[in-house]
Subunit: 192 residues, 2 copies
């Protein structure tokens, strides 16, 4: 994978992009493309900073044929993921990425932008994972995350539970992966 800079854009999109390039560029070169990022950076982000209804976008990531084959040889060696000549004759008319590769790309964007570096405790799992359309060689994808719920834990008062709708989208807005993430996050101020 190549962790790409976003393309040139004009007007509000361009300003938003430049703003986020300053505030959330990371060492892997991905950038938030959303109009605004969290008020709190990842090094000082706690449960209180996750507000239901907020949406963020991160990416793009360019996925090559070699990326797809390398992942699949290790973790999902079906010929539709490893053999371009065979895959042309298959139900998708060409090579497609393992769905678990898409999940890995999504996780990279989540770990690089969305999770706190100081308050992320664990994830019990994800719900309703779907692969609505195939991820193909040459696709560039971005992550879109919407916070759907943020509530304090009933059993452990030092933490809260954040549920986020996560989608991985191509440039033409095909959804190649979606799931609902569940994350446990420490409170900044449990006494409040």
């Amino acid at each position: 994978m190549a962790w790409q800079a976003p393309p040139a854009a004009g007007g509000a999109a361009r300003r938003a992009m430049l703003g986020s390039m300053t505030s959330s560029a990371t060492s892997d070169g991905t950038r938030s493309l959303g109009p605004a990022d969290f008020a709190a950076p990842m090094d000082d982000r706690y449960f209180e900073d996750y507000h239901p209804g907020a949406t963020y976008e991160y990416g793009h990531v360019l996925v090559t044929e070699q990326d797809i084959i390398d992942f699949a040889r290790k973790f999902d060696p079906q010929p539709i993921h490893t053999d371009p000549a065979y895959a042309v004759t298959g139900p998708f008319g060409g090579l497609i990425a393992s769905g678990w590769h898409s999940a890995g790309i999504m996780m990279r964007l989540i770990a690089g932008h969305y999770l706190s570096r100081v308050a992320s405790l664990a994830s019990p799992g994800v719900d309703e994972l779907r692969w609505p359309s195939p991820l193909r060689p040459g696709d560039s994808v971005r992550a879109r995350l919407t916070i759907v719920e943020a509530r304090p834990s009933r059993s452990k008062p030092d933490r809260g539970i954040v549920r986020s709708e996560c989608r991985l989208l191509t440039r033409d807005d095909r959804v190649v992966l979606q799931f609902v993430a569940i994350n446990l996050v420490s409170l900044r101020d449990p006494a409040a």
Copy 2:
């Protein structure tokens, strides 16, 4: 990862293992550990061969510290997955694998043993993915799959939908990953 032969065992377990070693050893060296595998091999396995209630086991796979770090550097670079010294101070008391790494290991076992090589069409997704306990360096894991539903498609008479409970278990039977897989599989005989 090292795709391990199972250890020596006695009695019924040993007989079951030897039986399945003959019938379902694959090129990656993993073996079915279940008492019986599918009646139909992967090259001649269709929807009709997936029977609700049937349970199969595949593995083991040994997971090393280097495997965990290599995966996480690419797809989930949180220090609890990449930095053993940091991870000792973290909530799990040591390095743990990215949950998406566990999913890749599971997929490798599913692709190598469970899915048909001739009739597997696609997977729309998985439900209720959970990571109930951590996967740690040195753990050896096996997959356990139970078919929970197999029904013909209502809209497309050439295929059926198979739902399988999938678990990844350590040698001491800790569940490190579980989900319900959904697979579309061609019928051997759509006219029957």
